[in-house]
Symmetry: C2
Subunit: 160 residues, 2 copies
DNA sequence: GTCTATTTTTTTGAGTGCGAAAGATATATT
DNA sequence: AATATATCTTTCGCACTCAAAAAAATAGAC
């Protein structure tokens, strides 16, 4: 097996690992990864996000965010509020339910991964980081500028 | 930004890069990544795969492969053939159409990436490989044993 | 031989994801 | 004012992914 093949296999494994994690999360909390990420983004950033802003922060298309919000709204974790100033815009707010649920949810999406990663020596963390960034670059992904969606709010409850 | 966050961002970028690649591929060939992978797997491995075998080779669930085959069958690139010996089994064969299409298609899914990767020094390739494998492991993905297929979701609507 | 367990594929249901087009509203131009 | 253009969200269409349930067939136990 060529070594590039092995790289692709490993990437594929990572993708599936994330997917499986999201499914497990859904089993235990009723939320999937992207849903949780959106809730967390709402939590950490005040109240008045529009959907577009939200989608940019989370680095998903607006269409995708809309459908995820639909589900969150059905679960009563979130409400939409049409802006009165500019009626094209829609703001999204956490409900009390949503806030409560967040307080019980894992702070991080890839908790296990993060724990393992942080237990590494610094030099090793840096090595892994630069490797994966290198690969991202080679995939022509550098222009994408993805937000840290797979994971989590940093522990600092800092708003933007 | 914590360094684990940056790692997750990079992974996210990779995933999107792959996704975009698949969309471009679909535009140019009418096939998505997973579809192409399955065709290639059929091509390289003789004729008498069952669907289960195929799903294992490509490391997708059987359910997923079934739906992809549905689409390939509609496009007349592939045929299903119920086994006469064991009627539970279904073999999948390339049609002439499928073979022809394959001969025009890119041999590899991430051609650009592969080219770039292979232009690196050996030691660097190894470094990247072991890094990404390390991460896969930390994601608990090691048990998954993914095949080198690699394309996330993808799709590009045909014009109408 | 018949009944049950197992295997194999398909179906169902739920979720992610995107682009394009449609709907509404707002701003700029004429 | 009337028209055009820009912006924002939703809807539509479709692909991918999986687990679980259903369907079909075989294998094994009795």
């Amino acid at each position: 097996m060529q070594s590039y093949e092995e790289v692709l296999v490993a990437i594929r494994q990572i993708i599936r690992g994330i997917d499986l994690h999201s499914r497990r999360l859904n089993k235990s909390t009723g939320l999937t990864g992207p849903q949780l990420v959106i809730l967390q983004e709402l939590e950490k950033g005040g109240e008045h996000f529009t959907i577009r802003e939200l989608s940019q922060m989370v680095n998903l298309s607006q269409a995708t965010v809309t459908t995820i919000l639909d589900r969150l709204e059905v679960k009563d974790l979130v409400v939409r509020q049409r802006s009165t100033i500019d009626k094209r815009k829609v703001h999204v707010l956490l409900t009390d339910n949503g806030k409560e649920l967040l307080s019980d949810s894992p702070k991080a999406l890839q908790e296990e991964f993060i724990a393992k990663f942080q237990s590494l020596d610094n030099w090793e963390q840096n090595l892994l980081l630069s490797s994966v960034q290198r690969i991202a670059q080679m995939m022509n992904a550098e222009k994408l500028d993805a937000a840290p969606y797979l994971e989590v709010s940093s522990f600092t409850p800092e708003k933007k």
